[in-house]
Amino acid sequence: MKAITVIGGRLLQTAFVLLAVITILFFMFRLMPGSPLAAYIDPNFTPEQQAELMARFGLDQPLWRQYFIYLGNLLQGDLGESFFYRQPVAERVLALLPNTLILTFSSLILAYVFGVFAGAYLAWKRGSVVEQIGVPLVLTTRAMPEFWLGMLLLAVFSFGMGWFPAGGTRAPGAEYDTMWALYTSADFWWHMTLPVLTLAIYSQGLPLLLMRSNMMDVMREDFVTMARIKGLSTFTVVIRHAARNALLPVMTSFAIAVGYQIQGNVIVETVFSWPGLGRELVRAVQTADYPLAQGAFLMIALVVILMNLVADLLYAALDPRVTHE
C-alpha cells in the first residue's frame, strides 16, 4: 500500500517538473529577440507553409492560448517543422535519439563496471601507495574537459595511428538496410569506440570514488566484523556482504548519471561528428533552426527527468528497508 503512495507521489512530481520545463521552454522561445513568429516560421517558407504553421500553432492568438495549443500539439507529438531539414521536428529528433542513447548507455555501463571494481579495489588497498596515487589520478580524470580528451584520442589514435575513424557512425558511403543492421555492424562499433572510450574515461570517476567511499564505510560496519567472526571466506565477507551494501547508492547514481551524461554527449558528439541529439542541438542553434533546437532540448530534458524518476524508484526498490515496512 505504501509503495503505491510513494510511486504515485514520484509520478506526480515528475509530471510537474516536466510541465515546468516545457513551460520554461515555451516562454524562452517566445521571448527571444525578433518576431514571436520566428520560433516556428522561417522567412524562407512559402506563404502557404507559413499560413499553415500559423494556424497549427495559433501564432496570431494571445500568448496564453498559444500555450495551450502548444501543449496540445506536444501531446500529439507535433513539434513543428525544422527550418533546415523541412521535416517534422519530432521525426528527426526521434530518429537521432537511439544514437545518443547508445553512446550514453554504452559508455556508462563501461564506466560503472570499471568504476565499481576499481573503487572496491582501491578501498581494499587503503593506505597503500596504490591508493595514494590512484585517488588523485581519478580526480584528475574528472577535471578533464571531455572534448579535450576526445581531441587527444582522435589526434593520437585516429589521425596519428590511423587505428580508428575520425567521426561519424559509419564509413562514408556505407549503406545499411535497417537501423538494426547498422547498430550490429562492425563498422558501427568501430566508429563507436573512441567516443565511448572518451565518455567512459570521464565518467568512471564518480562510480569509482563513490564505491570506494561506500566500501570504506561498510567495511567498518558491525555486520562485516560479524561475518569475519563467523569464519566466512574473504570473498563472502567482501563481496557478498560489504560490496552488496556498498553497491546500493552506486546503482541509483547510475540512473542519475544517465541524465548528466546526456548533457556531456553534446560536446563529444560534436568532436566526433556523431549524429546524435547533442550535436543536432548545437547545429540547430548555430543555424537558428528554432523548432529543431526546441525539439532536441525537449528530448534531452525528457530523458533527464525520466532518469531522475527511475533513480528514485530504483532506490526504493533496492533497499529492503524501504519496501518492507
Partner: protein, 338 residues
C-alpha cells in the same frame, strides 16, 4: 575436576596507537569448565570486551595478542595458524554481539543469513539447512515463518534471539556473549538470560557472558571473573565470590548495585575513575581508589592467589579479607576525604 574447556593463562592484548602500545588486557588468567556460564564483569574500559573478542581472534586492525595462552580443547588458539583458527570459528566458538541490529546484514533476510552459516560453514545442503533453521528458531522462540523477514522488521529482543539462533547454528562448545542484554528492557533481559541458561542445561554449551551489570551475573552465572583496568582481580564460584568477595574492588561493586530483593539501602559508589591504560600506575591498579591501600600496594603488583579453593583474588591483603569485607559494608569506608 574435569578438564577445562578453555584455559586462559597470562593472556595480554595490546593496541597500537601512534607509535606506542597500550596494553588493554594484561596477564588474564581464568578457566571455563564445560557446560558452565562464566560472567566476565567490570566497568567500561576494563578490557572485558577486548578479552572476550580476542578469543575469536578477530581483532581491530591495530590490536594484537601480545602474550600468554588460551588453551581451548587442548589447543592453544593464540598460536594457531589463521586457517586452523578459522576452522574453529563459529563451529566451536561462536559470538553473540551487543547490538544485533548492526551485526545483521540489512539487505539479506535472517533466514538467508542463517542458511549462509549452515551451508558455507556447516556443509549442509539447502533442505537440511532449512530444517535446521526452523529448529533453531523454534528453540529460541521465534515463529518460523519469520525466516523470510529482514533484520529491521524485528524488535530489539527478537533480534537478540536471532543472534542466539545464529550462534547455536553449528553446535559450538563455547559461546561468547558480549553484553547481550544491555540494550534491552528488564523483562526482555530476563527472557534472554533464561534462554542462555537453557543453552547450558539442555545443550551443555559453555558461555562467557561479558557484562558490567553484576545483577546479570548473579542471575545466571556459575562463575564470575572480575576485571579492573585490564587485569583480572578476582575469580571464583558465583555465590561465594559475590556474597564473600576477597578483593576490595568486588566489595565496592557489590555496594554499588541495588538489590531489589533485599531492603532498600543506600547505594555507595566507588569514588574516582579507572586509570588511563596508556599510563597505568605501578603496583596494584586499584590502589588509588582502594580504601584499604597500604604502602606496598603502590609498588608491588599483586598476583592472583587462592583465597578458598578455586576462589582467587589479586590483593596483598587477601588474608584479611573477612575483616575488610565487614568494613566495606559501611558506607563511611568508601568516603574520600575532601
Amino acid at each position: 575436576m574435569t578438564e577445562p574447556l578453555l584455559c586462559l593463562k597470562d593472556l595480554s592484548i595490546a593496541y597500537r596507537v601512534g607509535t606506542h602500545d597500550t596494553i588493554a588486557v594484561e596477564g588474564a588468567t581464568f578457566d571455563v569448565q564445560p557446560g558452565s556460564i562464566v560472567g566476565l564483569v567490570g566497568e567500561s574500559g576494563c578490557g572485558k570486551t577486548t578479552l572476550a573478542r580476542s578469543l575469536t581472534r578477530v581483532l581491530a586492525s591495530n590490536a594484537r595478542i601480545a602474550g600468554g595462552q588460551a588453551v581451548f580443547c587442548g589447543e592453544d588458539i593464540v598460536g594457531l595458524s589463521e586457517r586452523a583458527m578459522n576452522g574453529l570459528r563459529w563451529r566451536e566458538i561462536a559470538f553473540i554481539p551487543q547490538s544485533a541490529m548492526n551485526s545483521l546484514d540489512p539487505v539479506y533476510t535472517v533466514g538467508s543469513q542463517l542458511a549462509e552459516v549452515l551451508i558455507r560453514r556447516g556443509g549442509m545442503g539447502r533442505r537440511a539447512a532449512r530444517t535446521r533453521s526452523e529448529e533453531l528458531f523454534e528453540w529460541v522462540g521465534i515463529e518460523t515463518n519469520r525466516l523470510g523477514d529482514y533484520p529491521h522488521q524485528f524488535s530489539g529482543g527478537m533480534r537478540q534471539r536471532v543472534a542466539i539462533a545464529l550462534a547455536l547454528a553449528l553446535d559450538p562448545k563455547l559461546i561468547i556473549a558480549d553484553e547481550p542484554v544491555t540494550a534491552l528492557d528488564v523483562i526482555v533481559q530476563r527472557q534472554i538470560l533464561d534462554q542462555l541458561r537453557e543453552l547450558r542445561e539442555r545443550l551443555g554449551i559453555s558461555v562467557i557472558l561479558v557484562t558490567h551489570d553484576i545483577s546479570v551475573v548473579a542471575y545466571v552465572c556459575d562463575r564470575v571473573v572480575v576485571m579492573y583496568a585490564g587485569r583480572v582481580v578476582e575469580t571464583g564460584p558465583m555465590a561465594a565470590t559475590l556474597t564473600a568477595p576477597a578483593h576490595p574492588y568486588t566489595m565496592g561493586l557489590r555496594n554499588a548495585f541495588p538489590d531489589l530483593a533485599s531492603a532498600a539501602g543506600e547505594l555507595t559508589p566507588i569514588e574516582g575513575s579507572p586509570p588511563d591504560l596508556a599510563n597505568p600506575p605501578p603496583g596494584c591498579r586499584f590502589a588509588p581508589r582502594c580504601p584499604f591501600v597500604e604502602a606496598r600496594c603502590q609498588t608491588d603488583v599483586p598476583v592472583l592467589q587462592s583465597y578458598e579453593g578455586d576462589h582467587l583474588a589479586a590483593c596483598h591483603r587477601i588474608a584479611e579479607a573477612e575483616t575488610l569485607r565487614k568494613r566495606a559494608m559501611a558506607s563511611e569506608t568508601w568516603e574520600v576525604p575532601a
